[in-house]
């Protein structure tokens, strides 16, 4: 790991100033994605700007129609939040299934969404639930936010401040985890919410999170496991690695979708 300058701002403005003033600056939240790639020298920032002390990025609020999660909330906080458990239990359960306890206690929702790992869990939740990504300068709909593996709509110096999740009538997440890393090999969030029935898949495609229109249409007709059971998933464009080849992954997506629908009750 190369040497870098560490900044610990306490306000969004100071954080933005530090980021803009640096030659090759980066934000750090929980460090669970950033530090491993810095250790591998895949990222070598000159400046690291911590969001840990920045005011206003924490807290989870129940706003009636929606639940808003501060960008610096850890996965463990989301999993343990009474508001999330009460209003969107699928989201709490999803957060509880990320990585391991250490990762959940350090990693944040903002960091996860900014990083947009194709095997991360939050992208599926955001797209299925129709979440809005709130930043220091604007609000971005999930449908516009995710732009392929490790790519997002964020500008270079843009900071996520919160994520707003509309409360669905029902939702569930089913994940098949990589046995080694525990990242998603196939993660499917099914939600029946204000934006209609949505089925969002993570972990499976090289392009990151995607929706399955065929399943959404079928569930719109009849919200039941039987409705999706017969819908095959193509292996075209599926990731292939030691844990799962494309064909097996496509199969797992179909099984996880069915199980998520079943879990919606």
């Amino acid at each position: 790991m190369n040497d870098f300058t560490y900044h610990a701002p306490t306000s969004l403005d100071d954080a933005l100033a530090a980021l803009r003033g640096a030659e090759g600056g980066t934000l750090i939240a929980g460090g669970q994605s950033l530090l491993p790639i810095m250790k591998l020298n895949l990222a070598a920032p000159t400046d690291v700007v911590s969001l840990a002390g920045v005011a206003g990025l924490d807290g989870i609020s129940d706003d009636g129609d929606s639940v808003t999660v501060g960008a610096m909330c850890t996965h463990a906080q989301v999993a343990g939040s009474a508001a999330v458990q009460g209003r969107i239990p699928a989201l709490a359960a999803m957060a509880d299934g990320i990585g391991d306890a250490q990762v959940r206690n350090a990693g944040t929702i903002g960091g996860s969404l900014a990083h947009n790992d194709p095997a991360a869990d939050y992208p599926a939740a955001c797209v299925a639930l129709g979440a809005t990504i709130v930043t220091d300068r604007r609000e971005i709909a999930s449908d516009d936010y995710f732009q392929g593996m490790f790519m997002t709509a964020l500008e270079d110096d843009e900071i996520i401040t919160a994520v707003r999740f509309p409360v669905p009538a029902r939702a569930a997440y089913a994940k098949f985890a990589n046995p080694a890393s525990k990242y998603a090999v196939a993660g499917v969030m099914v939600a029946d919410g204000p934006a209609g029935v949505r089925v969002a898949v993570t972990g499976a495609s090289g392009d990151g999170v995607f929706r399955m229109a065929g399943m959404e249409a079928a569930l719109g007709g009849s919200f039941s496991a039987e409705a999706v059971a017969g819908i095959g998933v193509s292996s075209d464009g599926m990731l292939s690695d030691t844990a799962a080849g494309a064909e097996y992954r496509a199969h797992l997506v179909a099984v996880m979708a069915k199980r998520a629908v079943e879990a919606c009750g």
Partner: protein, 785 residues
């Protein structure tokens, strides 16, 4: 053996845990020497390449850098030796290519050592290594056994045609052929024993120092056998006499065999410290550990079993191809031969057994011993084949085993070993009962109602520990003896220091050995401390591997204690004015038989060191050393039963129960023994269900991190149901056999047999390790057609 609260047979809490659990352990990386520098080893990123000039000027000019050395600088230093010479069928010696510590003309695997950069800090050394420019010409790589033996395959070493190191055999081929001619049934099987990466929790590390005033080198290193390192490094690599080379292996955080070999880094560090006259420290990073710690297993085998009409085994023929990696690591050549082929009788009376093994060089990390070393490979093949025979003959899987058990001892196998003792029916019965084998069909039905396929699998295994005796292993090609030393020093006031040539990398020797000595001498457990891991303190030692420490090292200690008692008897007799023959020793006191006149061990010890009133002609002091060379291997055996549930939709295998009934010989500390069994089971389950080292065709290590190399975690394991039935080893006084590798040897075939049993109704009859969800799902799809 009095068996008091801390004596033999008691589950004493481990002495060493006070320091391990409070962060006070002292591992190699905890050691810092004044003026130390840090070394970083630049490794090859190519699997096979010619190397030309290595440009180091930029690195040498980098901040903090003191020196950069390459293979050229180390020319003239000996290569890394191997410890066992194997002869091929035709009598020719194996091909034994040179293994320069730093690559000279070629690199042969991703991870091969190319240069060392020495700097003020580890970060500086690592950054400077990026500035080294190695002129390379990439060569085609052979990354697997299949690639190595293909027509026109690239040669890893020019002197090894066909990439073959040796083509070895054991057993009587003609007799085995005859058995097949006479057979009513022949059952064959093809198995792959998956390659594993050991992953000790403590990465390798070393810190070397040279004292110009005394000419003495000291190397602190993460080793299971410091004396072996001294022998190989001193005599073969650097040409240093033993009294000028001290090897210290302090606390060692796991090894599983990967810390047996003498590694190139140890030679590079020691030599570099000598060049610079300053201590040099190196700590392997985890990603480098994946590609530089020796790997394990990696066999492809085909075998057939000849049976008569009743299911008696008549003959076994095994043909194995083994991957040795790019260079011959210390025990690499004996693992697939003398630790493998001679195991094929197992617990069965098969009268004719023949095994041939061809071993190959490949452009992969050197392969060496890994927990079980050869015996898991043999056991897996045999127990899979026996299961398959039962299915093909329509016999019960338990009955076919029982029908063929050895019941008379000593038993001479057709593949060299002679078993001294065992009771395979007892462990089988115990395991069947504990696992409720009889009630399984109800559990299968209950699982089926939940949509799960449940299966049960069994393995009745036998293994061989404490490889010995020296004269025999020497005649088979071993370049070292396989005895052990033990010294017992009774201090003037009766406390005791025990010195052993074995070493602990987690096994709890400080506790087990103290229990033996305190029990035998009748002194407090707390009054006995065990010293190991330092060539300056221990007379000599062969270290810890092959589950040898208690059976061989413990016996040496036992014999040294007996000598102490013998001497004490003479001193006590003098003090008590009796004849030595009339002195009895019990519970720490020397007593004149039939009287109440006695002297405690403490009184006798004090007399030995303050010999004012002392037997004439007797040396003062109370310290004895024994070297013990065993007469034979020891033969732990047992039955392991695994139960799994398969989700047919995803192919996921859940291991729901594991039952063991083990005969590991005398148990000194049941808690430690169960801990060893648990660890071994976890290891074996890892191999059966999770772990798989994958190389790409170009020799890049695909599973090079924890992102895709799956180690077993607690949540992957059921509660283990461990049971014991003990028969004592007949040729060591403790009756000890060994336990450290039992789990990793016995359980893998039980797990795979269970998976196949679960899937059999779906038409699946074969399964490879690891039985990952993808592999199981694919097998189900294939069976569906």
């Amino acid at each position: 053996m009095s068996g008091n609260g801390t004596g033999i047979g008691a589950s004493v809490k481990r002495k060493e845990d006070a320091r391990f659990l409070t962060g006070r352990g002292r591992y190699t990386d905890d050691i810092n020497l004044p003026g130390q520098l840090y070394g970083y080893i630049l490794r090859s990123g190519m699997a096979h390449a010619k190397i030309g000039a290595v440009h180091t000027d930029a690195a040498k000019a980098a901040p903090g850098v003191h020196a950069v050395f390459t293979g050229k600088d180390m020319e003239g230093v000996g290569g890394i030796p191997t410890g066992w010479l194997i002869h091929s069928k035709d009598g020719s010696p194996m091909v034994e290519p040179a293994h320069p510590a730093l690559a000279t003309d070629k690199v042969r695997y991703v991870g091969d050592c190319v240069a060392i950069v020495v700097a003020e800090t580890a970060e500086q050394a690592r950054s400077a290594a990026n500035l080294i420019d190695v002129e390379r010409e990439e060569l085609p790589a052979v990354a697997s056994i299949e690639a190595a033996e293909a027509d026109g395959a690239a040669l890893v070493h020019d002197e090894a045609p066909g990439n073959v190191c040796y083509d070895w055999e054991v057993g009587d081929r003609a007799a085995t052929d005859a058995a097949f001619d006479a057979a009513d049934h022949v059952v064959s099987i093809d198995v792959v024993n998956n390659r594993l990466i050991p992953n000790a929790i403590e990465p390798r590390a070393a810190i070397a120092n040279f004292d110009p005033a005394t000419g003495e080198y000291t190397l602190y290193t993460t080793s299971q056998n410091p004396h072996l390192v001294r022998l190989l490094l001193g005599a073969f690599v650097l040409g240093l006499p033993e009294h000028k080379l001290r090897i210290v292996a302090p606390d060692v955080g796991g090894g599983f065999g990967s810390k047996i070999p003498h590694y190139a880094e140890e030679a590079i560090l020691t030599w570099t410290a000598g060049q610079l006259g300053r201590p040099v420290k190196w700590t392997c990073e985890r990603l480098d550990a994946f590609k530089s710690d020796t790997h394990g297993r990696d066999h492809i085998s085909t075998a057939k079993l000849a049976l008569d009409a009743d299911g008696h085994f008549l003959g076994l023929h095994v043909t194995t191809r083994a991957n040795l990696g790019a260079y011959l690591s210390t025990f690499a050549t004996c693992v697939p031969t003398y630790l493998y082929g001679i195991l094929f009788a197992g617990p069965y009376t098969t009268p004719a057994v023949y095994c041939e093994v061809k071993s190959f060089f490949t452009n992969t990390v050197p392969v060496d011993a890994l927990r079980g070393a050869g015996r898991p490979e043999a056991t897996y093949l045999l127990e899979r084949l026996v299961d398959k025979a039962a299915v093909e003959l329509g016999m019960d899987r338990v009955e076919i085993r029982r029908k063929n058990f050895i019941r008379e001892f000593p038993y001479q196998t057709p593949v060299a070993l002679q078993y001294d003792q065992g009771d395979y029916d007892a462990t089988l019965d115990l395991a069947l009962e504990a696992a409720d084998w009889a009630g399984f069909e109800a559990r299968r039905a209950e699982a089926a109602a939940r949509g799960k396929h449940r299966g049960i699998g069994i393995s009745t295994f036998l293994e061989a520990c404490g490889i010995a005796p020296s004269a025999v292993v020497g005649s088979l090609g071993a370049r070292a003896g396989l005895y052990e030393s033990g010294s017992v020093r009774v201090h003037p006031t009766g406390s005791v220091s025990v010195f052993t040539g074995t070493h602990s990398h987690g096994q709890g020797h400080e506790t087990t050995f103290a229990q033996i000595v305190s029990d035998m001498l009748g002194v407090d457990f707390d009054a006995v401390d065990v010293v190991h891991g330092d060539s300056a303190k221990i007379p000599f030692g062969m270290g810890t591997y092959g589950s040898r420490s208690l059976a061989v090292g413990g016996t040496a200690i036992y014999l040294a204690v007996e000598k102490v008692i013998e001497k004490g008897r003479k001193i006590a007799a003098h003090l008590l004015e009796a004849s030595a023959e009339d002195i009895e020793f019990e519970n720490g006191s020397f007593t004149v038989a039939g009287t109440d006149r006695s002297k405690t061990l403490g009184e006798v010890a004090l007399t030995a060191y303050v010999p004012h009133n002392y037997p004439e002609g007797l040396e003062p002091g109370l310290e004895e050393t024994a070297f013990y060379d065993p007469l034979n291997f020891t033969f732990p055996a047992g039955t392991h039963i695994a139960e799994v549930e398969v989700d047919p939709e995803t192919g996921e295998v859940e291991l729901v129960a594991v039952t063991g009934a083990d005969d590991v010989g005398r148990i000194i500390n049941p808690m430690i023994v169960d801990g060893q069994l648990h660890g071994g089971l976890a290891h074996g389950i890892g191999q059966a269900l999770l772990e798989e080292c994958v190389y790409q065709d170009d020799g890049q290590l695909e599973t090079g991190s924890y992102m895709n190399y799956t180690m077993p975690r607690a949540a992957d394991l059921p509660f283990f149901n461990i049971n014991h039935n003990t028969t004592l080893c007949t040729h060591n006084p403790l009756g000890a056999k060994g336990v450290g590798e039992v789990g990793s040897i016995g359980v893998p075939p039980a797990v795979i047999n269970a998976v196949i049993d679960a899937l059999r109704p779906l038409g699946v009859s074969d399964m490879s390790m690891p039985a990952t969800s993808q592999r199981v799902w694919q097998a189900i799809q294939r069976a569906k057609g």
